[in-house]
Amino acid sequence: MTEYARLLVERCIDPQPGWQVLVATTTEARPLAQELSRLLAERGAYALARIAFGGAFPVDLDWIEAAPPELAPTLAPLERHVLDEIDGSIFVLAPEPEPRRLDDAAVRAFRTHVTTYRDRGRSGTIPSVRCDFPCPAYAERAGLTLEEFADVFYEACLRDWDEERRLMEPVRERLDAAREVRIVGEETDLRLSLEGRTALVDDGHLNVPGGEVFTSPVEDSLEGRILLDVPSHSTDGLVERIRLRFERGEVVAASAETGEPALLRAIATDEGARRAGEFGVGCNHGLTRPLRNVLFDEKMAGTVHLALGAGFPQLGGRNESALHWDVIKDLRGGGELHLDGVVVQRDGEWLP
């Protein structure tokens, strides 16, 4: 865990003396939060701890649920000041075992808060990392004991990230050079354009674990259908086997075998929630099976993912939304990835 904390502070944030670094987490991640405080102190930086109960971000769900509807989605001016002034931020997600059910308005307010919290990190203005802590809730979701889960977790997170970067660089070059992506597989044939867009490698700077190459697709370019067969937790519950049909970039049909209401709520968040803000390719070989945790599953080597909602302006993305929800397609069982008409990956393996 100390090694993990060191990675977050030293590689992801690299704080300079006098920096004010937000450490946002929950009571479930206490040992890590305390270690992060110590390491920031060692580097001569301030640690601003924001500890929530159970929720993922420093957003108080009790307050959101009870606040007047016009107030609930707004951030206190003092919190906005915090977000404007910090020099770096570390978001450690660690939910409680009992997931909390929120009504639609509360979910929308929560998403607005989260988007605001992550805004400066997402746009690359300040170093910011979003990661997890191996807590019982995640282990249970993955169907593992906490000990087993912690092993998988640290295996995926504590990698030689400079070496990983070298391995992912060719993937980035291919995506950068490509105009059109086609994803083919079970109940899947989807095309999207990357023209004019820049791809980025996450080598453990933006997320821990890192291990993906991603970009924002051209907003109105998605055409076709896709079955996203890796389960995905949205803010309000598990969704399995999502089927989406895109026309001119917009979701025109959506269903799921489990959690369809959560899917429909998510894409109804706002205008941008029906479009994809991200296309990503998983490259982390430390991850071989889904843990029912998006942050990890989207990095699995042999998978691709789309995110419904907000895109990345610094990569050319223009889609705006309070939603950014990654949904994942496993290509290892008969899937293909085509770039400009050439098959580059089959069954999740890169072709020479």
């Binding site: 110590r38 102190a41 929530a52 109960f53 009790d62 307050w63 009870a66 606040a67 003092l78």
Partner: protein, 365 residues
């Protein structure tokens, strides 16, 4: 961890804090410091603040409610960083509309392991927050939430301690206020107060100072009438032999302070003397009195090693060395505010301008 509790008392306490103590107004920004143990109370507070249309700024921590920084951080950070709160925190201190501190210790000695120089720097960094609170530039309150650690410290089981805490907090504060107002009126008329008791004969002036009746506004539990004594007036000696003087997780036994012209000129103790002297030397104001308080809570009769309660024990007085309350006319500035409690029930006396007004802890007025 979703602790299902049917106990209505956290909600009652939350209502009292948000509606009476802080009187939260729409659009306010209210910070709430607490350990995770206080969750049932904090949850109710968050809801009560939301219902009033105000912002809730949760400041959950694992350390001491006295400091606005993380103790793990404070133990390692460079000294120059300790001396000043992060700019973001300074801005919050100057801007927040209300500040609520919940004492819910996991460890009643949290923070006591901090090196003295680090502690002193942190206290200095906190001084702007203290100044704004003591001048009522911000609406504030301190409350207790019962925990195992505090119960053990008080020598009670948790259920006993819960009864004790809520019993002392959930009073009819309007009635208490009327009762305490009579005591305040008697002392407001007086120029000089004399405290006599075991090893104690101390005189101080409250001339021109008005008493403050504390009836569920800034402390819960509450129940005291207090003054900012005239800064250079204390003469004589006071010996805190009945109870230890407890501060920042440290115990000082049999603290004995001798005052001349308002200043401590002699300080001794049978245990913790070094700590006592260090604190008195924190700054210029730390060796002068910032408060004279008269404990008036009828539900608090026993010492529990928790100053929030002990200073309210009916039949006790307390004197604080350090910063005084400017809203009570006080002028003493210090990063320290250490309340030490003197039990007057065993043979003590209180005199106002030469008239005996309390004997053995019982009012004669």
């Amino acid at each position: 961890m979703a602790a299902v509790t049917d106990d209505p008392r956290p909600r009652e306490l939350a209502t009292l804090l948000v509606d009476r103590s802080l009187d939260v107004q729409p659009g306010w920004q209210v910070s709430v410091r607490a350990t995770p143990l206080a969750r049932p109370l904090v949850t109710e507070i968050a809801r009560a603040i939301a219902r009033r249309g105000a912002y809730f700024l949760p400041r959950t921590h694992w350390g001491s409610e006295r400091f606005r920084v993380d103790l793990d951080w404070a133990a390692e950070a460079p000294l120059e960083l300790l001396a000043e709160l992060p700019p973001i925190e300074q801005h919050a201190i100057a801007t927040e509309d209300a500040r609520l501190t919940i004492r819910a210790p996991e460890d009643v000695h949290a923070g006591s392991g901090l090196a003295p120089e680090r502690r002193a720097l942190l206290q200095r960094a906190m001084e702007p927050a203290g100044r704004r609170a003591r001048s009522l530039g911000v609406r504030w309150a301190v409350a207790e939430y019962p925990t195992e650690a505090a119960a053990a410290e008080a020598g009670m089981t948790l259920p006993e301690f819960e009864d004790f805490v809520y019993g002392a907090c959930l009073l009819d504060w309007d009635a208490e206020e009327r009762r305490m107002r009579r005591i305040k009126e008697r002392f407001d008329d007086a120029r000089e107060v004399r405290i006599v008791g075991a090893g104690t004969d101390l005189t101080l002036s409250i001339e021109g100072r008005e008493g403050i009746v504390s009836s569920g506004l800034r402390n819960l539990p509450d129940g005291e009438v207090f003054y900012s004594p005239v800064e250079d007036s204390a003469e004589g000696v006071i010996a805190y032999t009945e109870f230890p003087a407890v501060y920042l997780g440290h115990d000082v036994e049999d603290a004995r302070l001798v005052f001349r012209e308002g200043r401590v000129v002699e300080a001794s103790a049978s245990a913790g003397e070094d700590f006592l002297r260090q604190v008195l030397q924190t700054d210029e104001g730390a060796s002068r009195l910032g408060e004279l308080g008269l404990g008036c809570n009828p539900r608090i009769t026993r010492f529990t090693r928790n100053v929030l309660f002990d200073e309210k024990i009916d039949g006790t007085v307390h004197l604080a060395v350090g910063g005084s309350y400017t809203y009570a006319g006080g002028k003493n500035e210090s990063a320290v505010h250490w309340d030490m409690v003197k039990d007057l029930r065993p043979g003590g006396e209180l005199h106002a301008d030469g008239e005996l007004v309390q004997r053995d802890g019982r009012w004669l007025i």
